[in-house]
């Protein structure tokens, strides 16, 4: 039996998965749901949960337990981890990895037009950091919270790939 802790949009689900003869049983927060899986393609399956039909496609987003579940025409970001690990992590008072973000990465590929901060600057949430041109549009990338700039890793005129580090915070 496997037990997972799944977080979606701030809601936590405690899910125990169990194989039965020709199906699985998912016990979600104490309630049993009957699950049948029919594979369609590599990352896609028809999932029948208590006879509710869902075509799902699950894509990893790059970092460990984060996935995007595509279902009913909606993209649902999901964080999943082993239930026991999640409990230990919480007991130790460690947040999930996203709270210790000190590197600001490019959310999309593009051309750096302007850098609005320098090392030593203290920025607050919403303050413009970098202007990136992508698909002929200027996008102003803003700080997500209060932080002090440690290093600027890019220069104006430079092309960046998605996920490339732009600015390091202390």
């Amino acid at each position: 039996m496997s037990r997972y802790s799944v977080t979606i949009d701030g809601h936590e689900f405690d899910i125990e998965m169990e194989y039965r003869s020709d199906h699985m049983v998912a016990t979600v927060n104490g309630r049993e749901r009957l699950v049948r899986v029919h594979k369609l393609q590599e990352t896609r399956a028809l999932l029948v949960i208590d006879h509710l039909s869902h075509e799902v496609d699950i894509q990893a987003t790059g970092d460990g337990g984060r996935k995007i579940v595509f279902m009913q025409g909606t993209e649902i970001p999901v964080a999943i981890e082993d239930y026991n690990l999640a409990q230990m992590r919480k007991a130790a008072g460690i947040g999930s990895e996203e709270e210790v973000d000190t590197v600001f990465v490019a959310p999309m590929p593009g051309l750096i037009v302007e850098i609005k901060v320098a090392p030593g600057d203290t920025v607050t949430a919403g303050q413009p950091l970098v202007v990136v041109e992508a698909m002929k549009m200027e996008n102003i990338l803003k700080a997500k919270g209060t932080a002090t700039v440690k290093a600027v890793r890019i220069a104006a005129g430079q092309s960046v790939e998605k996920g490339e580090p732009l600015i390091e915070f202390e």
Partner: protein
């Protein structure tokens, strides 16, 4: 004089190239596609009769490069060019070059494009044709102090707009004087980069206006008519994302007045072909001239759905020198149509473009559904161009039916591999104000100030959580199996599960 067109080079890519190629096929005209490096196997390049590679992926080396496009026109022996929208569609120099080389440019005359394409000249023309305009000035980046003084006089918020602009590029709303200089600079810079012309001007920013535009169609014989309105108030970053026809606020009387106004500026400009006269309509149903778009608009399908007129075919007929067979009294509205623009963008991340491969792509269908898609499954969404991948339109007898069909069609749409605006549209189409037709250009900012468009039901969230758990469970089993077995397995959890199910059916045990 009628000059029949035999072969059209479509100087564009994506869904609009596909749209024009389809019209060519309908008309029995040979179609020529041009493509850049990254578009060699793009849908438009596969669909056309002829294929010409014209250069590198950046649009400056291909779709925006007049020399390369003209070379393909000569090499293919095309006698006409359809520019679609964007790229060279509103470039008067290119249109003139076609004329000079004896090639039919499917669009207005070069001098019309030049005049109306300059928003300042267009404004003058509108005033001359007695159209109401929004208070504004032509003072811009070269005279920032006077511009600021004017902005203070008409009162913030003001709108900074590129004279050569379009599609929301080079446009900024400025809420207060301290933000004015930065907006002026960045709008000017963006305009320079996008259009090669950094001139900007300032307009009073109307509060909660609706964007309503009139489709016009004119021939070379002096016939000018309008094909009623489209409402395009749902915008993000001044770019339309949902359009519909007719407008929920329209009355016969207002339509008559706006239609007449649109036709008068078309006459004043000596307009030829299809075009759009854009207006803002305020809370009192007063309307103000905004600009004329001298091209086929992205949202033209909603007009086609409610009028039954094929606008691209009409454009070709006008370009051949034919007289319009339609008269104003023939234009009748039938039902209601809505368009949702499907972008490869992350709606919750400020509509940042999302690039990648469409690992799964399935289009909706069924009664009242039209999809103009520029991509196929496994298409790459390149970083070089506009991230719109398709336009999903629905038609219904009335607005309620069109909305219901749109909700159904959106739920059928399957896109994975890139983020898309399908989920965003589902949220907006379910919004009570949207359903009530209570729209304004500030709709999205007002209704979704934190850009959170991911409001799914708790039931859906729970089922998604189960899906993630099933996926993880199957993947963990895979690792166990592959470690004890014959090396690494590339098959996913789903595949392994499926195999196991088959083994069971054959009498195996697990």
């Amino acid at each position: 004089m009628i000059k029949p067109i035999k072969k059209i080079l479509v100087a564009n890519r994506g869904e609009i190239a596909v749209r024009v190629i389809r019209a060519c096929h309908d008309l029995g005209i040979v179609s020529v596609a041009i493509c850049s490096d990254c578009d060699r196997t793009a849908y438009h390049a596969r669909l056309a009769d002829e294929w010409y590679h014209i250069g590198g992926s950046p649009s400056s080396e291909s779709y925006l490069n007049q020399d390369r496009v003209m070379q393909a026109v000569k090499d293919s022996g095309a006698d006409a060019v359809h520019p679609g929208y964007g790229f060279l569609a509103e470039n008067a120099t290119f249109a003139q070059r076609c004329v000079d080389e004896g090639i039919t440019f499917i669009g207005p005359r070069p001098e019309t494009i030049r005049g109306l394409g300059d928003k300042l000249v267009a404004r003058e023309m509108a005033i001359k044709a007695n159209l109401p305009v929004v208070p504004g000035t032509d003072m811009g980046a070269d005279n920032p102090d006077e511009a600021l003084a004017f902005a203070k006089k008409i009162g913030f918020p003001v709108l900074v707009k590129a004279a050569a602009g379009g599609g929301g590029k080079g446009m900024r709303v400025v809420e207060s004087a301290d933000l004015f200089q930065e907006a002026l600079d960045s709008a000017s810079r963006e305009a320079k980069s996008a259009f090669g012309d950094g001139r900007v001007f300032i307009e009073k920013y109307l509060v909660r206006p609706r964007h309503v535009e009139i489709q016009i169609l004119c021939d070379t014989h002096g016939n000018h008519l309008h094909l009623c309105e489209r409402e395009c108030s749902i915008q993000r970053r001044h770019q339309k994302v949902i359009e519909e026809a007719p407008s929920p606020i329209m009355t016969d009387e207002l339509r008559e007045r706006m239609g007449t106004a649109a036709v008068s500026i078309a006459r004043e400009a000596g307009y030829v072909g299809a075009g759009t006269v854009e207006f803002l309509v305020d809370q009192n149903r007063s309307f103000y001239f905004l600009e004329v778009n001298t091209r086929l608009q992205v949202e033209h399908p909603v007009t086609e759905l409610v009028t039954g007129v094929d606008l691209v075919k009409e454009q070709v007929a006008v370009a051949e020198g034919r007289e319009l067979t339609l008269r104003q009294e023939d234009i009748r509205l039938n039902g209601h149509a809505i368009e949702c623009r499907i972008y490869a963008e992350d709606p919750s991340g400020g509509f940042m473009p999302s690039t990648g491969t469409l690992e799964h792509y399935r289009l909706p269908a069924g009664p009242g559904v039209r999809v103009d898609s520029g991509v196929l499954v496994w298409s790459e969404i390149p970083i070089y161009y506009d991230p719109m991948i398709a336009k999903l339109c629905t038609w219904g007898r009335d607005r309620t039916e069109a909305i219901a069909r749109m909700q159904r069609a959106l739920s059928e749409y399957r896109i994975s591999g890139v983020e898309s605006t399908v989920g965003f549209h589902q949220v907006v189409l379910a919004n009570k104000k949207f359903i009530a037709g209570d729209l304004s250009t500030g709709f999205l900012q007002e209704e979704y100030p934190d850009s959170n468009y991911r409001t799914f039901s708790p039931e859906l969230a729970e089922d998604a959580a189960i899906a993630a758990a099933v996926d993880k469970l199957l993947n963990e089993r895979r690792i166990t199996i592959s470690q004890s077995g014959n090396g690494r397995s590339r098959s996913s959890g789903w595949v392994r599960h499926h195999r196991r199910e088959n083994v069971k059916r054959l009498g195996g045990k697990h």
